[in-house]
């Protein structure tokens, strides 16, 4: 039973990381109908920023809590500015072009960022400093739930609640929902759609940066390629839940994380991806628009 619970929690925290990234995919898709393939790279850049800042601050000898907070802020700001810039450079000029053009532009941007980090940094794995200590109060259950898992779950939950409040109650949130539902009409009520799109990229990138920081300190090493793999998984999770749906992205991520964790634990870690993608295929056969996705019907 302990083993089951252990797998459950590690699956949950894995799913939480996927969710932080998947939200960026699903929000951007909801607003402009584009799969932002460069989104995984934003997460990777978040991890690299965290690495640089955390290493410098550790050398400077700051207290751990200060390091974590400052690293988090730096990662969020840096990744968000990347997200903002990517949209302006790679997608905005193609706003009225066929969808395929923007998609190709996204893939190009993804390759560019990977190779840019490869050249600017290194192709080797970099050791990431341990930011999250083993809490003393977690001692009795440390063999089933790690302190890092706990931090990941709490951070993700707080981020999700923050996002939900933002979308439901704030002015920019309402503007985002309106733009996602009917862009022309959003313009006609006076919403600056360009600003809404920028905000979406900034918010999605910030979430991915938090994911990057968490995963880097969890796994303990990073390289330029982690964004691609995580991006594909998070994208799968978003599709699984129903692309465009925010609760769907979270649900899809948790389902994917748990599946992978149990597959690894009970079968073999070699089959982790096989199970993950079989699940995707199965769900899409029975629910083509994903778990919580809306079927594309429109009242005329």
């Amino acid at each position: 039973m302990d083993y089951f619970i252990e797998l459950f929690f590690s699956g949950l925290s894995r799913g939480a990381i996927y969710a932080l990234i998947a939200l960026g995919y699903t929000m951007v898709y909801g607003i402009i109908g584009l799969i932002n393939f460069a989104h995984g790279e934003i997460y990777m850049i978040g991890a690299f920023t965290s690495f640089t800042v955390a290493t410098i601050l550790t050398i400077l000898g700051l207290p751990l809590l200060a390091i974590i907070v400052l690293t988090g802020i730096a990662a969020v700001v840096w990744s968000a500015s990347y997200g903002y810039t990517i949209e302006k450079i790679a997608y905005k000029p193609l706003r009225h072009a066929p969808r395929l053009s923007a998609l190709i532009s996204a893939i190009g941007m993804s390759m560019f960022l990977q190779n840019y980090v490869l050249l600017a940094q290194t192709s080797d794995f970099l050791p990431f400093p341990t930011l999250i200590p083993d809490f003393a109060f977690m001692e009795p259950i440390a063999h089933i739930v790690g302190s890092t898992d706990l931090v990941i779950l709490i951070t993700t939950t707080v981020s999700m609640i923050f996002l939900m409040v933002l979308i439901k109650y704030t002015r920019i949130g309402k503007a985002m929902r309106a733009t996602a539902q009917d862009r022309t009409m959003a313009m006609l009520v006076g919403i600056n759609v360009n600003r809404v799109i920028s905000a979406t990229f900034v918010i999605g990138s910030s979430m991915a940066a938090i994911g990057g920081l968490l995963i880097a300190s969890h796994i303990g090493q990073i390289n330029f390629y982690i964004g691609f793999l995580a991006g594909i998984k998070a994208f799968t999770a978003a599709v699984l839940g129903g692309i465009g749906s925010i609760p769907g992205a979270v649900l899809g991520s948790v389902v994917l994380g748990l599946t992978e964790s149990f597959a690894t634990g009970y079968v073999s870690s070699d089959y982790e991806d096989v199970f993950a993608f079989s699940l995707l295929v199965l769900i899409l056969i029975f629910k083509p628009s994903g778990l919580l996705g809306k079927a594309d019907t429109q009242k005329v």
Binding site: R171, A178, Q181, D182, T184, M185, A186, L188, N192, K299
Partner: protein
């Protein structure tokens, strides 16, 4: 108030509006009538800045607005109820109305205005917590007009408010249009295929054919014009 001079616009290689000139004074109801594909909706979308004006001038109170973004045009008091209503389907009736007041910050008056539109369309008050997408066509039209009113427009652009509605509801909608014009002195630019109804409430009218104005005059004179009767009134 609003003046179009030789305006051209369109989509891709197609020029839908080929040099239109027209003028609306404050407090007027004018109507633009024409067949499908004549360029009526494109004209409105060009005024709102959704479709770019390729040539010519659009001025609002003597200020050129043809190069402004849509939100800047809305900020200057030009609101549109587009063809097909465009209700936000997953926002409630109340949230749809709030979106209409997106650029306003006077919370108190917004509340008053919500009460005002609920008095115009009592059915919306009943449905205030229902998703916009679940309303019937007529109710959606009422909501779309109410949403536009929430912006306190100087100039209201209405694109085929009668489309797909039952005769009784059409009558009701047109009565409200007249009421809005009389009570708030809102200038109204009405685009219609239902030429008869439109000319009944309008002060003046323009007829558009193939992206060009072919005829203009007072609503009365257009109603009596034999060419208009033949082509648009079915007499």
């Amino acid at each position: 108030m609003l003046k179009l001079e030789n305006v051209q616009s369109g989509y891709g290689n197609i020029l839908a509006v080929r040099g239109i000139s027209l003028e609306i004074s404050e407090g007027e109801i004018i109507t633009l009538i024409g067949a499908n594909g004549a360029g009526k909706s494109t004209t409105l979308m060009t005024i709102s800045g959704v479709v770019r004006c390729r040539a010519g001038k659009i001025s609002l109170n003597d200020e050129e607005i043809q190069d402004l973004d849509t939100d800047a045009i809305v900020k200057r008091g030009v609101c549109q109820v587009p063809e097909g209503r465009h209700i936000f389907p997953q926002l409630t009736v109340r949230e749809n109305l709030d979106m209409g007041a997106f650029l306003r910050k006077d919370t108190k008056q917004i509340k008053q205005d919500i009460d005002y539109v609920f008095s115009l369309f009592p059915i919306l008050a009943e449905r205030r917590n229902q998703d916009g997408g679940t309303l019937s066509g007529g109710e959606q039209q009422m909501l779309a007009m109410s949403r536009a009113l929430m912006a306190r427009p100087q100039l209201l652009l209405l694109d085929e408010p009668s489309m797909g509605l039952a005769p009784l509801i059409i009558k009701q909608i047109f009565e409200i249009i007249k009421k809005i014009n009389e009570e708030n002195n809102t200038t109204i630019f009405l685009v219609e295929q239902n030429a008869n109804q439109a000319l009944q409430i309008a002060h003046r009218g323009y007829v558009i054919e193939n992206g060009k104005i072919s005829l203009t005059g007072s609503a009365q004179s257009l109603l009596q014009n034999t060419a208009v009767q033949k082509a648009y009134l079915g007499i």
